[in-house]
Every structure is written in structure tokens, then in C-alpha cells.
């Protein structure tokens, strides 16, 4: 039966150490739930990459293009010559381009963040309220009862203050 083991730790070092041991014992689906971002996570759980940078990059490019198209295209739709300037003038339109580049870059970053962090949450997920205060939780998905026992042991050995079993959707 699939279930999750959750260990609560009093500090980041213990939690990270536990996560490292679990990883070493062959558990792949590990999560740390912490009140602050931990800086040693990547060394323990492996390098993370995210798609956000692609979102930002392409968002900015699309923004830049659409910025210039907005300014130049609308100037052409209804010709109203002003001040002896051409209809399509570069210096002013580049400013519009600049602003739209940044606007779309920002919006795409937000989109990329929401998608890659899987937010907003639509279904209930494993969560412990203490982890928003001062507890550092390690959750591990266990495929079989054997795995669960093994994981519980490792968590206790690493100094977990509390170890519980959680099935997603049932709350705590």
C-alpha cells in the first residue's frame, strides 16, 4: 500500500541529514517542507533546474516584438502625422518596446513560477502547519509497507522528533 512517512525535525541540519540518508537508502520521492529556504538542499537531493528562465527569456522576446508591433502597427492603422516626424519613428517606439519587453518578461516569469512550482494547489497535499513556524519536515513516499518501516527507522535514527504516516487527501 502506498503511503507517506513524515518526520519532523527541530532544525535544518538534522532534516537535511535525514534526507541525505533516505536518498542513500534508495528513496527517490523526497520532499523537505521548511519554514525557510535551505541552502544545502541541492547537495543532498541533487541539482534542481527549472523552466522559469525559459519563460522569462521567451516572454521578454515576445514582449519586445509585440511592443514594436503595437507602436508601429497602430501608427499605420490610422495615419496621423505629427511634428514633422515620420509615421514610424524609432527612438520613441524603442521605448515602448523596452517597456513591453519588461512587462511580458515579468508576466511570463510569474506564469513560469506558477507552472513549475505547481501552484495554486487544487488538491490537498501533504502539509504540516508546524513547518511554517520552526519545524523542518521530511516526507518520503513509500511504495510498500516494508519501505515505510525502513523510512520510519531512518527518520527516527536521524533524530526526528515525531514520525507519522500520511496518505494524501486525508489530511494529517
Amino acid at each position: 500500500m502506498a503511503s507517506n512517512a513524515l518526520g519532523l525535525f527541530g532544525g535544518p541540519n538534522a532534516a537535511l541529514a535525514a534526507a541525505g540518508k533516505l536518498k542513500g537508502a534508495g528513496f527517490e520521492s523526497l520532499d523537505l517542507i521548511t519554514p525557510i529556504p535551505l541552502h544545502g538542499v541541492e547537495e543532498v537531493l541533487g541539482k534542481k533546474t527549472s523552466v522559469i528562465k525559459r519563460f522569462t527569456f521567451f516572454g521578454a522576446i515576445i514582449g519586445g516584438l509585440s511592443g514594436f508591433v503595437l507602436a508601429a502597427g497602430t501608427a499605420v492603422l490610422y495615419l496621423h502625422p505629427t511634428g514633422g516626424r515620420p509615421i514610424i519613428t524609432f527612438p520613441p517606439f524603442l521605448i515602448i518596446t523596452y517597456e513591453m519587453t519588461i512587462l511580458f518578461g515579468i508576466l511570463a516569469t510569474v506564469l513560469g513560477f506558477l507552472i513549475s512550482a505547481r501552484l495554486p494547489v487544487l488538491r490537498e497535499r501533504i502539509y504540516v502547519p508546524e513547518s511554517a513556524v520552526d519545524k523542518f519536515a521530511v516526507t518520503v513516499a513509500c511504495a510498500a509497507d516494508d519501505d515505510f518501516k525502513r523510512a520510519t527507522e531512518i527518520l527516527r535514527e536521524a533524530g526526528a522528533e515525531e514520525v507519522t504516516e500520511i496518505t494524501p487527501g486525508s489530511g494529517r
Binding site: P35, E99, I102, P120
Partner: protein
């Protein structure tokens, strides 16, 4: 009550900040009521009168068609400049002292931008058609004129408002989650929605860190562009003493200067009235003071350069404009500005001054008065002395204008007072990062960091 910063536990941070949100005393309600009343009486009532009567309710006249409304607009845009910009710069340079104060600094950005947008509404002659300046076509496929510096403004300020709202919101998501677990009733529902179901997993933190850094990198050039674009509203004209190449850096420096002074004011108030004494400390005032000193010196330098280049041009219109600014009708205001913004900040050389709270508060307010004067003078003196001497004039603000100025400050205070009850005004998770971890001794993550 006086705890040392190092003695604060993680749980204390949550307690203190949740308390600032949910425990509301009568003093808060009285302040809020006063702020709302002043906003209604001094901002909206005169504004509605002006909508009915026309811009003539203000003191503007034939040569000086721009007045305090535009000066207020620049002032509020300027005030918005330090919050998010400073927060971004300090974020990507990894400054520890940013963490306790950036949230409220960013809120200052957001609200002063909103007030600035209101000032545009007050400024234009027919605000009921202001949507024509938004990029959408009318029934004849006529779009706004993207060649206009005012249109750059519309685009820049919309982007800045969007960017800084997203920046402050994204930085607050983990805090909303922390507060969500501690509240009940309508507050709980609100924070459930605002926190988007944040749990604090390592993946979420990783994504947030990256997205936040990207936003910071995007917002820094944006903020610089916003105020240079505001300066181009003036510098793109051919009015003597407005048509200056130095205006863009002048405005950007002035904006950051007045914004930093604004942060000092806000920090003082938060520290005093929200009981954040052990989060916002002398260190912050000391650092802000150093920053203010540097900015005041740059500002003074640009002012000197501006006068010098005008004088050196030996252009008759430029010389007259300069003479009028330094010795004419508005000269007392000019020298007041020099006193408040160039001379008084020299006090910041002394560390004792920088770390005393009340003198810092007084100085920060004086700087902002000086900076408001600067914006008023840019509009007032330059437009009163243009090329044709027959069209010279003098402009004095009317009571309606002064009332709307007072009302706009009250509006800012109202927005801020609402903010401190909804947003955790000190970042919970980032303050925790500055504390020693609950594990005993030097922690692994601190060692690697």
C-alpha cells in the same frame, strides 16, 4: 520587551507578526478613521468640485498650465522609487539588512504609484476620457499616439505598477501561508486564497528563489526607465531650463533620494507603532542614513551641474530662466530646497545622528519637503519664464490644489494602514533567515552560504 536580535526564536517571529495583523487596538481604528476622513474631505470633495467646475478650480493660468498636480505626480512616482528598486538591488547583492524592511518599502512603492495614478486623473482636463490614453483603438481604429512622451509614461507606469505588485505579492506567498495557519474566519479564507496553497517544499522554495531573482533583475532597469521617462515629459519639450539632457539621471537620483527618505519615515512609524523594535534596528537606520548621504551628494552635484550648464550656454532664454529660478519670485522656495536637500543631509556624516531615531525622522521629512519643492519649481519656474516675454506669468497654487495635496498624503496613509493589517509588514521567512537556525551551533546552511 527588549530582546536582542540573536535571541529571537523562529516561533517568536511568527507570533510577533501574526499579532501585528490580528491584534488591532483602538488607536489603529482612530488613525484609520482620521486618514479616511481627511482623504474624503481633502481629496475627493475638492476633486469632485473640480470635476464639476473645471481645472479652473486650481491656480493654473496661461503660461503655467502645469501646476502642483503634476508636481505631486512626479513626487509620488519619485517616492515609489526606492521601495522596489532598493529591495531588488539589495536582493541580488544578497544584503542581510534588507530582509526586515523590504516588505513595507515595497508597499510604499505600490501605494505611492497608486496615488500618482490618481494625481494624473486630477491633473487632466477631462478625466472622464482618460481611457483614451490606454492602448486600445476607438471605433475608427485610432490608437493612442505612441510617439508622445506621455504615452511612454502610461506604458512605463503600468508596467511598473504590475511589476511591483507582482514582486511584493510573490515575496509574500510563504508568509501568507504561515499566517493562514494561524488565523480564523474571513482572514483564514483570504489567506488560503492568497497563499495559493503554499507548503514550503524544497521545490517550491527553489522555484520561488529563481522567479524572485528574475523579477528583481527585470525590475531594476524598469524602475530606472520609469523615472527617466517621467523626466522626458519635460526634457522632450523645448522650454528653456526643461530641455536638459541631465534631466533623466537628475530625476532618477532625485526619486531614489526622496524614496529612501520616505523609507526612513515609514520605518520609524512601523518601529514605533507596530512594536517591531527588535526587527527594525539601529543597523537599518545607520545603513539608510549612509545611503541618504551618498544620494544627497549626488543630487547636489547634479543641481550644481544643471545651473552651471544653463549659465554656460549663454542663451538669453536659458539665462533668464536661471535668473528667475535663483533670484526671482520663487527664489525662497529654491533656497529652502537647497537647505533641506543639500545642506541638512550633511548631518548624516555623524554616526550618532544616523542611529538616533527622532532626528532621522525629522531629517527624512525635511528631505521630502525639499524634494516636493524641487518638483514644484521644475514645473513652476520653467513655465513662468518661456521665450516670449509677453507671455511671462506667475503661478500660485489655489486652496483646492493644496487641499488635494494634503488629501493625497492622507490617501497614501489610508492605503498603508490597510496594508499593515493584510500583508505581514515584516517578512516572516526572511527575518528567520537572518536568525540562527534552531539547530545548536553554527549550521550547515549558514556555513555553505
Amino acid at each position: 520587551m527588549q530582546r536582542r536580535h540573536e535571541d529571537i526564536k523562529f516561533a517568536d517571529v511568527n507570533n510577533d507578526i501574526v499579532r501585528s495583523l490580528v491584534e488591532t487596538g483602538p488607536r489603529y481604528y482612530v488613525t484609520l478613521a482620521i486618514a479616511v476622513l481627511i482623504t474624503l474631505a481633502c481629496f475627493f470633495f475638492p476633486w469632485f468640485y473640480q470635476l464639476y467646475y473645471g481645472i479652473g478650480a486650481a491656480g493654473m493660468n496661461h503660461p503655467t498650465v502645469w501646476g502642483t498636480y503634476l508636481a505631486s505626480f512626479i513626487f509620488w512616482i519619485g517616492l515609489s522609487h526606492s521601495g522596489t528598486l532598493l529591495s531588488c538591488v539589495l536582493h541580488i547583492t544578497n544584503s542581510e539588512w534588507r530582509k526586515a524592511m523590504y516588505r513595507s518599502a515595497e508597499a510604499m512603492t505600490l501605494f505611492s504609484l497608486m496615488v500618482a495614478a490618481m494625481m494624473v486623473m486630477v491633473h487632466v482636463g477631462r478625466p472622464w476620457f482618460i481611457h483614451w490614453a490606454l492602448p486600445y483603438p476607438n471605433q475608427m481604429e485610432l490608437w493612442p499616439n505612441f510617439r508622445s512622451p506621455l504615452m511612454f509614461d502610461v506604458m512605463a507606469i503600468t508596467t511598473y505598477l504590475t511589476g511591483s505588485s507582482i514582486f511584493i505579492y510573490m515575496g509574500s506567498i510563504p508568509d501568507f501561508a504561515a499566517v493562514r495557519d494561524r488565523t480564523t474566519g474571513w482572514r483564514h479564507h483570504m489567506y488560503v486564497l492568497l497563499s495559493l496553497g503554499w507548503r514550503g517544499t524544497d521545490t517550491e522554495w527553489h522555484r520561488l528563489g529563481w522567479a524572485y531573482t528574475f523579477l528583481a533583475v527585470l525590475i531594476i532597469p524598469l524602475a530606472v526607465s520609469v523615472h527617466s521617462i517621467v523626466s522626458w515629459d519635460f526634457a522632450m519639450s523645448i522650454v528653456p531650463s526643461l530641455h536638459q539632457t541631465i534631466f533623466a539621471p537628475y530625476f532618477v537620483v532625485g526619486a531614489i533620494y526622496s524614496g529612501t527618505a520616505g523609507i526612513v519615515t515609514v520605518m520609524f512609524v512601523l518601529r514605533k507603532y507596530m512594536n517591531f523594535e527588535h526587527y527594525i534596528t539601529k543597523v537599518h537606520f545607520d545603513n539608510l542614513g549612509k545611503l541618504l548621504l551618498a544620494l544627497s551628494l549626488i543630487w547636489t552635484y547634479i543641481n550644481v551641474v544643471e545651473v552651471f550648464t544653463g549659465w554656460y550656454s549663454n542663451d538669453s532664454a536659458e539665462l533668464e530662466s536661471l535668473r528667475y529660478k535663483l533670484f526671482g519670485f520663487y527664489a525662497p522656495l529654491y533656497w529652502e530646497m537647497i537647505l533641506f536637500c543639500a545642506v541638512a543631509p550633511l548631518l548624516l556624516i555623524s554616526k550618532r545622528f544616523r542611529t538616533s531615531f527622532v532626528p532621522m525622522l525629522i531629517l527624512s521629512i525635511a528631505i521630502n519637503i525639499g524634494m516636493y519643492t524641487e518638483r514644484f519649481l521644475i514645473v513652476g519656474t520653467s513655465l513662468s519664464r518661456q521665450y516670449l516675454p509677453d507671455s511671462w506669468g506667475v503661478y500660485v497654487p489655489s486652496l483646492v490644489e493644496l487641499s488635494i495635496l494634503v488629501g493625497s498624503i492622507a490617501m497614501f496613509c489610508t492605503l498603508f494602514l490597510v496594508f499593515v493589517k493584510i500583508f505581514p509588514s515584516v517578512s516572516i521567512y526572511e527575518v528567520k533567515e537572518t536568525l540562527p537556525a534552531p539547530d545548536e551551533g553554527k549550521t550547515q546552511w549558514q556555513a555553505t552560504h
